[in-house]
């Protein structure tokens, strides 16, 4: 009873902040034109190739970007696990994109990678005949998402990896394990849960990509992601019900991605590759 009372504030908070808007959105998506519940919105979405393909477009950005971001963050964080010179400076520099926010980062990317950006001007100076097109297309969005999510993923993994007792690695080395065996047999099993969580979060953030897809992508074509589709329904066609349906589809895709990551992680645990948490005894 006491417990129930103590839990009340947080339950109320969750209800007001998350459950209610979510339930409201789902309900809204099922009620086009207020003629009782119907799946018409969902049918319309999946039957319209222009809309349905946003799932594929978004996934083709989100999945490879998640893999690359997590992999690179893992490599860099792992190699920095025992600290390096200038670590504070590097960390501060990496936090900057998070602090600046999506829009400023996108502006910066346009300024640097854009058609008349610093990079291309430098290439012209070097006499490169054909300039790469790095913004307002798929590549632009990939760069923007990487710049935003790499620091986040890196810091998360670095925290996770540096929490592992260095004596574990030392004893593995003395027992005869080379660098790869140390990673494979000791460090990876302990890091894997952290990698799964970081990967899941990056994937969810990537799948919801919106400002970057607009500002440095090609929002009418190659990078018309599912978030853009939902936005257009809501604010260009003023169809909140359809927009909600698209948002629910987006949420479903994100959940599917999370489930896949968790299943992969279970699989690895099952084969004994990954079990347990971080290196806390």
């Amino acid at each position: 009873m006491r417990l129930a009372v103590l839990l009340l504030p947080s339950v109320a908070y969750l209800l007001v902040m998350f459950v209610f808007p979510f339930a409201y959105g789902v309900l809204l998506s099922l009620a086009p034109g207020a003629r009782g519940l119907s799946l018409a919105n969902y049918l319309a979405f999946f039957l319209d190739p222009w809309q349905a393909r946003t799932i594929w477009v978004t996934a083709s950005i989100a999945v490879p970007n998640t893999v690359v971001t997590v992999l690179l963050a893992l490599i860099v964080a792992y190699s920095m696990r025992r600290g390096i010179r200038g670590e504070r400076t590097i960390t501060a520099a990496l936090v900057l994109p998070i602090a600046l926010g999506t829009v400023l980062v996108a502006e910066g990317i346009n300024g640097f990678y854009g058609p008349k950006g610093w990079l291309n001007q430098a290439l012209v100076g070097l006499g490169v005949p054909e300039l790469p097109r790095l913004t307002h297309n798929y590549t632009g969005v990939m760069i923007a998402l990487f710049v935003q999510h790499f620091p986040f993923c890196f810091l998360m993994l670095l925290g996770y990896i540096s929490g592992i007792d260095p004596a574990l690695e030392a004893s593995a080395r003395v027992l005869g394990a080379g660098a790869w065996a140390v990673f494979r047999r000791v460090m990876w099993p302990l890091i894997a849960p952290g990698v799964a969580i970081a990967g899941a979060l990056v994937f969810v953030m990537n799948f919801g990509v919106f400002p970057s897809a607009v500002l440095v992508g090609q929002p009418a074509g190659a990078t018309r992601t599912i978030a853009i589709a939902a936005y257009q329904q809501a604010f260009e066609h003023s169809d909140m019900s359809m927009a909600s349906a698209i948002a629910v589809v987006m949420g479903g895709c994100q959940l599917a991605g999370l489930a896949l990551i968790l299943v992969l992680r279970r699989r690895m645990a099952g084969t004994g590759v990954a079990t347990m948490g971080a290196g806390k005894r």
Binding site: A170, A172, R173, L175, G176, A177, V186, P189, L190, K280
Partner: protein
């Protein structure tokens, strides 16, 4: 079988010299202990030997062959850490098998060897547990079994008992001694605990600020400390500044204002030099007569019941305090004459800044 390990190592972290030309030769089957206070460089020395840290200067030779260029995984040593450092995601069996598995031993060969190692440390049957399910003492046994499974050329132990409670510590001390002898190991053990060092070692190397201050068999370190630092570490808690009046062979006589103390001279002392006479509380006894050679008088300030004996703090006429362990109780405030047996008093040069 290793027949000799010789090293000479210097390690600096930035400007800080942690090991200052630490040189030692260890024979095969020897049990050597590095003894010293926290921060004197004991762990650093072991890490250098294991190859986990690069030395700033120096070399390590195993049977005459230089090994300081080898990475840790190619030295063939075993190491036991203070916090056990067991792999939390592996079972006890897999932990013990780790060194053999990375050497590419077949699965079928692993199981019997793991079983044998666990029998050796008296943990047979716990193969399938995880480290988190074991007590501290059991974890340390697994760590020892894991280190021994690879038949190490040299076993390094970094304060392996300091996380255990007193009873387990005693038990594990015996185990380590037994394993060392039974398996014919060559071991280097690190501790700040003099009792551990005395009970385990063939030779104790006392370190201070990365330098050897004294090395020798336990009895020598215990009975013939060469500096005040070693004496303090070995439990000579009473110290009296004296002036050397005479020194003949092993016997030195020193005098203070109202007392003459005869004791053992471990290092040469010229008459007239400032010295310090040290004695352990355990060696102080109640004087049979109130005056005489090596007798001091004072007033009991504090007593403490210790079971077998009574701890006593006596304030001498000079204002100095003397600690003693006496077989019979005395009352606080009473006058007491105590004898410092000459064969148990050591007279050392005073210049050492340890006190």
């Amino acid at each position: 079988m290793v027949t000799s390990l010789a090293f000479r190592l210097t390690k600096r972290f930035g400007a800080k010299i942690v090991l200052d030309d630490l040189a030692l030769e260890v024979r095969g089957r020897e049990f050597v202990t590095f003894l010293g206070p926290s921060g004197c460089g004991k762990s650093t020395a072991l890490n250098l030997l294991a190859g986990l840290l690069p030395p700033t200067a120096g070399e390590i030779r195993l049977d005459g062959v230089r090994i300081d260029g080898l990475p840790p995984e190619r030295r063939g040593f075993g190491m036991v850490f203070q916090n056990y450092a067991l792999f939390p995601h592996l079972t006890v069996g897999a932990n013990v098998a780790f060194g053999l598995a990375v050497r590419g031993l077949a699965k079928a060969e692993l199981a019997p060897r793991v079983r044998r190692m666990l029998e050796l440390v008296r943990l047979a049957g716990l193969e399938d547990r995880y480290p988190g399910q074991l007590s501290g003492g059991q974890q340390q046994r697994v760590a020892i079994a894991r280190a021994l499974a690879v038949e190490p050329r040299l076993l390094l132990l970094d304060e392996p008992l300091s996380n255990l409670d007193a009873k387990l510590r005693l038990e594990m001390r015996g185990e380590i001694k037994r394993l060392h002898a039974e398996l014919g190991l060559t071991s280097i053990y690190v501790t700040h605990d003099q009792t551990e060092a005395l009970s385990l070692s063939d030779r104790i190397v006392v370190l201070r600020d990365g330098r050897v201050v004294q090395a020798g068999p336990p009895a020598e370190i215990h009975d013939r400390p060469r500096t005040l630092f070693v004496a303090d570490f070995m439990g000579y808690r009473n110290a009296f500044p004296v002036t050397v009046s005479s020194a003949e062979g092993d016997t030195v006589v020193g005098h203070a204002r109202d007392v003459t103390l005869r004791g053992l001279g471990v290092v040469a002392l010229a008459p007239g030099t400032a010295a310090v006479a040290v004695v352990r509380p355990e060696d102080v006894e109640v004087a049979p007569e109130p005056a005489g050679a090596n007798v001091v008088r004072g007033t009991v300030r504090f007593t403490e019941y210790l079971g077998r004996e009574h701890g006593v703090e006596v304030v001498l006429g000079t204002g100095q305090t003397l600690m003693a362990r006496l077989p019979r109780p005395v009352t606080v405030g009473s006058a007491l004459a105590l004898r410092l047996p000459p064969e148990r008093v050591v007279i050392l040069p005073a210049e050492d800044g340890a006190r």
